[in-house]
Structures are given as C-alpha cells and as structure tokens.
Amino acid sequence: MTPSGRAWLLLGLIGYAILPWHLADLAPLANRYPAGEAGSGLGRALFGGAWWLLPIAAGLAVATVPVVARLDRDKAAAWLVAGGGFGLALLVVQGFVIGHNGWTTAWLAAWFGAPGPRQGGLGFGAALTALALLMLLCQGLADRGWCRGDAFVVSAIGLVVALIGLFVFFPVLRILVSAFQDNAGQFSFSEFAAKVLDRSIWGLDCLTSSLRCGVAWNTLFLAVLVGVGTTALGLAFALIATRTGFRYKGALRVLTVLPIITPPFVIGLALILLFGRSGALSALLYEWFDIPRSRWIYGLPGVLIAQLLAFTPIAFLVLIGVVQGISPSLEEASQTLRASRWTTFRTVSLPLMRPGLANAFLLGFVESMADFGNPLVLGGNFEVLSTKIFFAVVGAAHDQGRAAVLSLVLLGFTLAAFWVQYAWLGKRVYTTVTGKGDSGLLLPLPRRVAWLCYATAIPWAVFTFVVYAVILVGGFVRSMGRDYTPTLEHFLTGFRIEAGRHGLFLSGSAWDSFIATLKVAAMAAPLTAVIGLLTAYLMSRQSFAGRRAFEFGTMLSFAIPGTVVGVSYILAFNVPPVEITGTAFILVMCFVFRNMPVAVRSGIATLSQIDKSLDEASLTLGARSFATVRRVILPLLRPAVVASLVYSFVRAMTAVSAVIFLVSAEYNMATTYIVGRVEAGEFGLAIAYSCVLIVVMLIAILMIQLLVGERRLGRRTAPAPVGNVAVQAAG
C-alpha cells in the first residue's frame, strides 16, 4: 500500500473514531461526547444506540487488511476496493434512509416498524470518513489497473464525480422530479405534457399577427444574438489586445472587464437613465434633433444591449488565451508560402481559434439564457424563460412544477447548443503550443481586420465608458434622474465608520453583508479554479467511460437558472444527510458549482492548444501525473487560471438569483442587499454600494494577476502584455 493510501486510512479512522459524526452544537461537549449527539461514529455506535453506524467500521477494517497482512498487489487492491466501496455505499444509503423523524421511505417504515432510528445531518466525522473511503476505493481501482494504474487520476476522477453528483445532479434531480408532479405531489404525465406543449411557451403567433410569440422562441432568439454578439466583440477586443500596437490597450482592457464586475440591475438602471423616455440621452436627442422620446429600450433592444455589455468580457477572457496561444510559426509558414496577411488570417489563424470561438459562443448563449437581472429591469413586455421561471417560483401563482418544466425547456436548448458546439469543432486538432521551439513572431493583423476590430471595439468601449460614468455619478448625487445635488450621504449610510469607546465601529448598514460577501467570494474562487481546472484536465487529457456525460453534467448547474438552483439547494440540503442550509458552506458550494463551467470551458479551450507530447515527455522522464500537472500543465494554463479565479470571485460577489434563497441572517450577501435597496427605490445607495464593490473587485483582479503571473511561451519578443488589466490601468 502506498504512503498516501495509508494516510487516507488513518484519516478515515480519525473521522470515524474521534471527530463528531453528526452536525451538532459543540458547546456543552462534556455530556454529549463520545456517545451523545456530538459523539463520534464509533462512540455513538457502541454506547449511543446508533447501531447502524457499526458496519461502517467493517468497511474500514477490510481496507486495513493490506496494511497488516503481506499480500500481492492484486489481492491488496481487491481488499481496498471491497472495503472502500462497502463502507461508502453503506454510509450514503444510511444517510438517505434514516432522517430526523425515522425512516424516510414508507416501505422501510412498513417493513421494520415506524418510526425507526433517527439521525441528524452528517458532520465532520462522517464527511472525512466518506472522503477517506472514496480515496481508498480509488486507490484500489488504480492498483487494479484503471487509468494505467495512475492513482492520482483515478482519485481525481472519483472526487470530481462525487462532488458533481452531490452538488449538481442530486439537487437538480430533486427539482426536476417536480416537473412530473401536479400541485398535490402526485405523478401525472398528462399534466406534464400539457405544461410542456403550452402555447405560451411555443406559440408562433408573432409571425402571422400582432400577438406575441412563445417565450421559448424569445429566449432562443435573444441567446443566439447575444452569443454571436459577445463572441464578435470579445474577438475584436482580444485581437486588439494581442495583435496590434493600439496605444490605449490598458484603458480598453479595463473597460472590457468593468461590466463583468458590475452588480446586477446596475447596468439596466444606467441604461434606463440614459435611454429611457426621460433619460439623459433621450432628452438630448429630443432637444437637438427633435427625435421623439419613446420607450424603445424596454424589450428586446434593451435586454440585448445590457447582456452584450455584461457578457462580452467573458468571451474576451476565453478568447484572449486562445488568440495568444496560436503558434506564430504556423502563420510564418503560411507567409513563407507567399500567402497574404489576409489569407493567412482567414485560413490559418481564424480556424485555429475555433475552440475559443465555440466556447465563447456557448458561454454567451448559456449566460444569456440564465440571466435574469437584465430582463427583469429592461424586459418590458418581452418575456424570457428565466424571468418566467423566477416568477413561477416566487410570483403570485407559486407553481414549482411549471418552473421545473420551463427549466427543462431551457436545459434542452443548452443541451442542443452543447452538441452543436461539439459537432462544429469536430475531431480536428487545434494544438499549437508544443514542446518544440516555437519562437516565431506574432503576425500583425491584416489591415481590414484591424479596422474592423477598431470599428467595433472602440465605439463599444466609448459606450461602456458612458454607461459607467452614469453609474459613478449616480452614487454621488441625491437622486439620479431627478435631483443632481452632489452628496456623500449614500456612502455614509452604507459604510459609516464611527469611533466608539472600544475603537472603530462599523455602523454603516452595508458592512455585514459586505464582509460576508468578501469571505464567501474569497473561499469560493480558489475552490472553483482548482475543481474546474482539474475537471478540464481530466476531460481533455484522460479518457474514461462516460466522459461526455460527465462533461455535460458540469454544464448542468450553469444552464439551469439561478432561481431553480436556489430552490433545488434548499430542497436537497435542508434535511439530512447533507444538512447545510443557513451556513456559509452552502453559499460557497453553490458558487463553486455554478461558476465551475467557466473554469472548465477556459481550461479545455487552453488545454486543447497544448501538445500532449509535453505531458508525455514529462511522464517519460518519470514524473507522475500530479507532478506533470503541477510543473508542466499548470504554468501553461495561467490564462485559464486567471480567467477562472477572476470569474468565480466576481460572480460570487455579483450573482443574485441563486443566493436569494440561500442567504441567512449571518451570511447575507451584498447582492441581496442591493436588490432590497432597488426594490425600496433607494437607487442612490444601491449604486453607491455597487461602486464600492467594483473597486474591491478591481483590487482583487489586480491581486489575482500578480499572484498567478503570466504565461511565458518563449516567443521571440513578448508580443503583447498578457493578463494584467489593472497593472496597465495603474501605470
């Protein structure tokens, strides 16, 4: 048995025999340990009447056999698989069938008598034991030859599958089941069929009459527009940033990143203040050109503009790594063969960007489908699935089944987009970063492409700038749109610091939520990056059964609208075995698994450019998978690391729809606070708070980039500064 196997066994024993098995208040420990509520698994099993915990010891004992007895490798592996598998299965099954009030299923109660044994949510001891059993199982499987006997790879697959199963599939299944139930909780297929085929979803009346089309078509149309738009704009920015000598690149990059760090509702609000019927720009247009004021911003145009503003940065973050990674030698080869710059760009560079383009489009498409803040503020009578779903859950009708059905439609679209992406990329190879000396010079853009980029990117940058000017001004005037007296009152209400008797005292009303948000975001970001990139590595570098299904699974929680995820998390995690509502943990997990797809997508896009021969060289030289990942792949993945850290940190600070059900008094989030202010009509405070968040996020992005550093690709001259938005802004 390997040293790490022994370590896991030891951890498993600690988890079982020493740590408290269930979640319990630890304060009056003396009378409840080791056999009472706060007791360890062993203590409760022997002295606390929790007999069902005893067989788990058998699992651990079986896994201990290879340590005690001298066995050959195959036999030892068999013992590990048996022990780990048995213990883990038992632990999971017990967790689900024994609840707070006895048996959780009717037939068990009928069989063994009600109410049966009771237990609360599983705690540290159970979690550690489960993890150790899983790792022992993976160790055993690796020793039996899975994944070329690579224990790291098997363990990583085991861990990621278990986490995705627990935090994505389990809650999502809980809520999707309700699609097939009527309001009384009975299964009913006819009702499901009626709900799915409803005219309000699929109606095509807008083609033939003045009536509105179904909400599904609206959503699809908008998502395609946003996907194409964000990809085009993101590409333009990425090309300017890497391939031109544009002078104000720094400023441009700050502008492209700003929207991603803007809390929800704020962009929508700013657009209304600019283009609404009484907006500032509308007033100018009316006075200067006599263009009548109208409400054109409410509906498809407004939502489209707001989403383009919000999601272009994501496309940019994905594309910049890919554009950089394209090998100059291929382009040089093309030019040596006398291709013009334009031909080279069209036939060499652009096709090599396909993984980036496809992933950027997919993210824009899915983000647009799941976005809820912008359609809420700007949608007018243009309805999309996400808002429909939100109000099916929280609106006056309170129809969870309908929300689940609409979520299924949304999922269907995402699934389709995912497969289209797959088909488009096909089986071609996009590798450009290889171990061979790749010290070419990046080709400047062909002139017409450069002009096209400038023509799209610069007006857009100016527009973004204007929107943010409005936001900034909004925080410092009494009432945006009505009363422009300058004031600091909003900042004081939110962030007042008073000097009390015991030193400084944070008396502003926003401090609590602000600090909680920072904590949660700081915890979620590294976890997201680690799990996401690990998943990307497994999916693009290892082959195992069910890989495609696994890949789609990671997209699930991203594709399902936040509201549905929020409700599904309550349904899944408010009762044992994993009873974590009201803690910071559920918020962190929600963020990690909602934002992981971005880490996965940018990881896959970047990895698909890195030649496998690099890994193989490392393996041939005797490094194990883990060392290869750490020394070779991770340094080349730096743009993806930055993208995933930045994105997950920022989203943890700005996401709203999922967390609205998960916040508790102790862990209230900044966004729910802001939404509350917007609801109360206190735009000033909402905008002021958003300004503070934006500054904090800019600092965080700067720090992430300083910490992670740049990727060095051994090009002749550094073609363009990589990934240091704020550094340039500051300089």
């Binding site: 790490s4 370590a7 979640l23 208040d25 630890l26 707070h100 705690g123 540290f124 979690a127 993890l131 861990l159 309000s200 009459s209 003045s210 009536l211 209304i272 609404g276 009484s278 409400r295 409410y298 809420l376 949608g379 009578n381 808002t387 109000f391 859950v393 929280v394 609106g395 006056a396 009708a397 309170h398 969870q400 009432s479 749109g481 009505r482 009363d483 009303s509 915890m523 976890l527 680690v530 409700v567 408010n574 009762v575 974590i580 509502t581 803690t583 910071a584 943990f585 883990f626 609205i660 059900f661 916040v663 008094a665 102790e666 729910t672 606070y673 509350g676 202010r677 109360a680 009509g681």
Partner: protein, 339 residues
C-alpha cells in the same frame, strides 16, 4: 494528494458547527430599514437575540414551502395578506391567538379570523393611482380621479401596472376590480385598460419608480409607496379611485414547527403592539395605516376616511383555487390581447 487534504480541511472549517437554538429566526418582508430598526428594538426590550433575513414576500413564501419538512424560521413578519393566507391554507403556519388582538382594528381581527388565527394584520395599505404631474402637465391631460378616467384614449401607453402572475400588488388590483365591478364587467374594464397599459412589470413596486422618473404618466400601486416617492421630492400625486378600491392587509405569522415557539409568540405580540407599529411605521415615515388602534399614523398617510374601501373578501380571493382561476382567465382574456 496534499491538495486534496487541504481542500478537505477547508471544507471542514467552512461548516460552522451547529445552530444556536436560543436565537429567534425572523423572515422579514417589509422594507429592510423597518426590519432592522424593529428587530433592534425587540432585542433591546426583551433580551432575545433575533437573527433576521429580509426577503420579498414571494421569495419567503417559496422558501417556507421548500423548508416545510424542517422549518428554519420562527416568524414571518410583513408582506401582503394573500400569501400569508395561502400559507395558512397549506398548513405552513401555526395557530396562535395573541392577547394583543383585542387592541387591533376590526379589519385586522377579521383577517386573523379568516386565517383560522394563523396570521394577523399589522397594517393596511390601500391600492391607488399615482401620476407624474410634470408629464401630465406637458401633455395637457387632466389628472385622473377614478378607475374609469384611465380608459381615456389620451392615456394610451401611459398606464403602468404589474403582472398579477408575478406581483401580489397587481393581484390585489385584479381581485379588487372583479369585486368592485363584478367579474364580467371587471374583465371588460381590464380589457379596455389593456390598450393604455405600456408595460406589465414584474415587480409590484416598479410602476411607482417609473412614475417618479416620468417613464410612465400613471402607475397603479399601493398609495403608501407613492407617498414615499412624494416625500422624496418626486413630482407625483396619488389618489384613491372614486369608485372605491381594494387594499392589502400586511400580516405577521408564526411558522408551524418553529423551534422557538415561546420567543416567536413574544415577537408576534410585540409586532402587534402600538409602540412597535409606531416605531416602524410613522417613526420611519412609512405611510400605511397601523392595525393597533393606539399606534400613531404618519401625518402624510392617505386618510382612510377619504378612501372608499371595498369589503375585500380575502377568504375567497386569497384561496389558491380562485387565484389560479382568475390568473388563468386574465392570461387568456387580457394579456393575450393584441395592443
């Protein structure tokens, strides 16, 4: 491997152990400021620690339903009466006859009785019209006084109201119109009004803000929300329609299966007291009518004597069956109409 151990350790640190059972958990659906001020005053008066989360009414109701198997909250404080009644109907709320009921106005006691003593009224807010005086003046439109005035073709695309499917406020309007004019005539009115409606907003409070900003000339919402904008300096006036109007009864309830029943009852009693209602009502310039007879009403609040309130049948129109039927009918007959 080391990394996995670190991740595991992080996960262990993350789960804060246990929940102290001594603190009272309150889901609060009135304005954040009211929630905070109220909770602080209650803590000071009783020494009971309160942990409060502010969420909108719909969100709270959805959360209570999701948590039904293992309730987290003790008290649900604030928000229109309809969802409270619906929660009572579904068995999510605990029965409690507060001694404070004797101090309340009749409408609040009646509300409690309708719910089977599972909720009680803490304030009354009348539905009304709000209009932007600047916009009306610039277009030479007379100020509306009645529901019927809104059908004037000059108001084309100038009236804003929320979608009753998503907003409790708009559902109150739908139910009020039906009760005021009868179902057939009521729907005929709503169909006629449809031509003048520029947008069915998602949130019930959105028309208030749109009116204040001049994005719409007229908004239909609760009058006390309009008054808040007026006090903030917006060029808005609000009026109770001459034909009569409906209202919401802001409610407070104890969650069934509350873990701190004793403290929950003390909180419940406290929210019905005159001092509490004065503090979070007129004390914070909130212009609704408190349910406790002894509580002070804000001087800016619309006078109940000037408003013709209909006898709002909360039992009938708050029930799920009637609500579902009316919403379906509204979807099919009003919202689906071409403009």
């Amino acid at each position: 491997m080391k990394r996995l151990v670190v991740a595991a350790a992080m996960a262990v640190v993350l789960v804060s152990p246990g929940r102290a059972q001594e603190t009272l958990t309150v889901y609060c659906s009135i304005l954040e400021e009211q929630c905070r001020v109220g909770v602080a005053a209650f803590e000071k008066a009783t020494g009971i620690k309160v942990s409060m989360v502010r969420k909108s009414t719909g969100e709270t109701y959805a959360q209570l339903r999701a948590e039904a198997n293992n309730p987290r909250a003790d008290v649900w404080w604030g928000g229109p009466g309809d969802p409270h009644l619906q929660a009572a109907e579904e068995g999510l709320l605990a029965e409690y006859k507060s001694p404070k009921l004797a101090e309340l106005h009749d409408w609040a006691v009646k509300h409690a009785e309708q719910s089977g003593w599972r909720t009680a009224g803490i304030y009354l807010g009348a539905l009304g019209l709000g209009y932007n005086t600047k916009v009306l003046a610039s277009r030479n439109i007379p100020e509306p006084k009645c529901w019927a005035d809104l059908l004037d073709p000059r108001f084309k695309d100038e009236v804003q109201i929320a979608d009753p499917n998503s907003s409790g406020t708009a559902y109150v309007m739908l139910a009020s119109i039906v009760q005021l004019m009868g179902e057939d005539q009521g729907f005929a009115y709503l169909k006629a009004l449809h031509k003048n409606v520029n947008q069915y907003t998602k949130s019930g409070a959105a028309p208030v803000k749109a009116t204040a900003l001049g994005e719409t000339a007229v908004g239909i919402a609760f009058m006390h929300d309009m008054v808040t904008m007026i006090l903030d300096g917006a060029p808005v006036k609000t009026v109770a329609p001459c034909e009569g109007t409906g209202y919401e009864t802001g409610s407070v309830s104890i969650v069934k299966g509350a873990k701190n029943m004793e403290a929950a009852r003390r909180f419940y009693d406290w929210t019905l007291s005159a001092e509490a209602q004065t503090l979070i009502g007129s004390g914070l310039k909130i212009n609704w009518v408190p349910s406790n007879k002894a509580a002070a009403t804000s001087p800016h609040a619309p006078k109940l004597s000037d408003i013709k309130l209909i006898a709002y049948d909360a039992a009938k129109y708050g029930s799920s069956a009637e609500r579902t039927r009316l919403l379906k009918k509204w979807d099919a007959e009003v919202k689906a109409l071409p403009k």
